[in-house]
Symmetry: C2
């Protein structure tokens, strides 16, 4: 299976690692918008090519893994590349998924390709668990918690505050809320009860710490509805102690069965990830295998994790799966 990467940031690097773990896959090229001669990748003997050259690789790449951002890159790139290749993306702007799906579906269908969008852990693995758990326990309630991990959007929001030189923001799930959910009480939880926001902030010289703290804590949408902790640290500490890419989260469904609804059941899925981008790309690569196989079977169009049978992701065949994993 010949894999191409479009975009060489954290996700692109993650795909490089993940492909190496799968002996049935080969990375054939990395496509970039930058000057290819200035992009150094980790694997030897893999060409780095300008993204405008991608059209010359049609027929030489089985699945293109799109590693751009959801805000501006993927809405354009995924439909465009789906005309030329089978593609996978990790599009995660929830409200725009129906529109993105329709655009990608049209492009993929018209050209006989398979596109799988919104792959990763949320959306992705968490979505799968929500779908399975809802189908199994129709009378129940879903809870999703994220963290502990850095939120890029919230970190960016802090950096836009006057007087802030640099910042990282951790989203932290609150144990008491998790415990209440796991107890089967099916609690109604406010935004504030579910997550805490922990900020590490480097001030610009002469900035007023109290003012900055207040500006962060009262920021609408991002922080005002949460309990927010602001820690001021040096830039050196930020770069050394808060450079990690760890993340994780929890999906829990609590639901009732029985003629009198007398029995409660808790389905919990949780992830504890040392590297958010490397785990995300491990999921992308597994779905690349599915896209390739589905296309080989004559399928086309846009799909999500809901539409893919788990066997399509596995390196093993059906008999092996039944013998060892069932």
């Amino acid at each position: 299976m010949k894999i191409g990467i479009v975009g060489y940031g954290n996700l692109g690097r993650g795909v490089e690692c993940a492909v190496k773990e799968n002996p049935d896959m080969e990375l054939v090229a990395v496509f970039t918008r930058r000057d290819p001669s200035k992009v150094k990748i980790q694997l030897p003997n893999v060409p780095v090519v300008h993204v405008d050259e991608a059209k010359n690789w049609v027929g030489k790449i089985d699945v293109m893994i799109l590693c751009g951002g959801s805000a501006t890159d993927l809405p354009k790139q995924t439909p465009e590349f789906a005309k030329m290749f089978n593609v996978i993306d990790s599009f995660d702007t929830h409200a725009k998924i129906p529109e993105h799906f329709a655009n990608v579906d049209a492009a993929a269908k018209a050209n006989g390709h398979v596109a799988i969008i919104s792959v990763g852990w949320d959306p992705g693995m968490f979505s799968l668990i929500r779908a399975y758990a809802n189908a199994i326990l129709p009378d129940g309630k879903d809870y999703t918690f994220w963290g502990k991990g850095v939120s890029q959007g919230h970190s960016d929001a802090i950096r836009r505050v006057k007087g802030v030189k640099n910042a990282k923001q951790y989203t932290v799930p609150i144990d008491a809320a998790l415990d209440a959910v796991r107890s089967g009480q099916n609690p109604e939880l406010t935004t504030r009860q579910k997550h805490l926001r922990e900020c590490y902030v480097v001030l610009e010289e002469g900035a007023d710490a109290a003012e900055v703290e207040n500006a962060i804590k009262t920021m609408p949408n991002y922080f005002a509805d949460y309990d927010t902790i602001v820690n001021f640290i040096s830039e050196e500490e930020l770069l050394t102690k808060h450079a990690g890419l760890a993340h994780g989260g929890f999906v829990i469904r609590s639901g009732k069965t029985g003629m009198q609804k007398e029995n409660n059941h808790i389905i919990e899925f949780n992830l504890k990830l040392d590297s958010n981008p490397e785990f995300t790309t491990s999921v992308l690569v597994a779905y690349a295998r599915a896209a390739y196989r589905l296309n080989q079977e004559g399928n086309n169009g846009c799909k999500t994790v809901f539409d893919i049978a788990p066997a399509y992701l596995a390196a093993q065949d059906g008999a092996e799966l039944r013998a060892h994993l069932l």
Copy 2:
């Protein structure tokens, strides 16, 4: 969707409850080997019919849910019923799955039906998680823990000990082992380190407690390799305090990514179930929906959870799933 139940024990009763939760399903008949006039079911206006009459219901039932045991019932029943109906079973004799699959596949294919075998939570949901987690993290290690819950096989083994009148055995996962796995150490765990066996035993009059305890603790395969706790109690206490059907368990995969394998990830799925049979049948019923839809699309043959895309289980359509659960 018209559902039939074959076998009316704990699982049959569970299917009855689960069908009630799903407005797109209707229970049309319960089939039993007993005298139908002596079988009282929970729902009104549903006929109880002798199992030999099932052939007269061909065309009136979309999916037959087989609620027999794996030891002797299902190996015969599933292939036989797959000739007449789409079927679901919860066959869980691991070593015999390949043989069962082949028998059921032949019967289902020859008659244009869909059969989904080994559905439930283990095999079933746990198998799914193992498959997804293995595909995502090829370089890792799987751990499965069961409990706390009653093991029927181990309870039966105790009841066969001379001097024992009645007994229940709980399989209990050991917290220290779970913690070691969750820490990402990828420990090698012995049988003894993973699970504890807790027994509640009612002695026959005049039986020697010490002898019974020794006979249990040294029983090969069942108890000798475990730390086993034997509690002697009255029959009244056994029937009142140990009649529950609660169960649960954990599937954890711990795996590494990165060019130097420097990052570890923990994928954990766990279940805490008030009623093992009611949860199992909630899964069976969700897969009944899938069997029906797959058959409507012209599919046939034997399948397992690995072969079914999650969307087939859901009451919602694709657009709803993408909008609300992705």
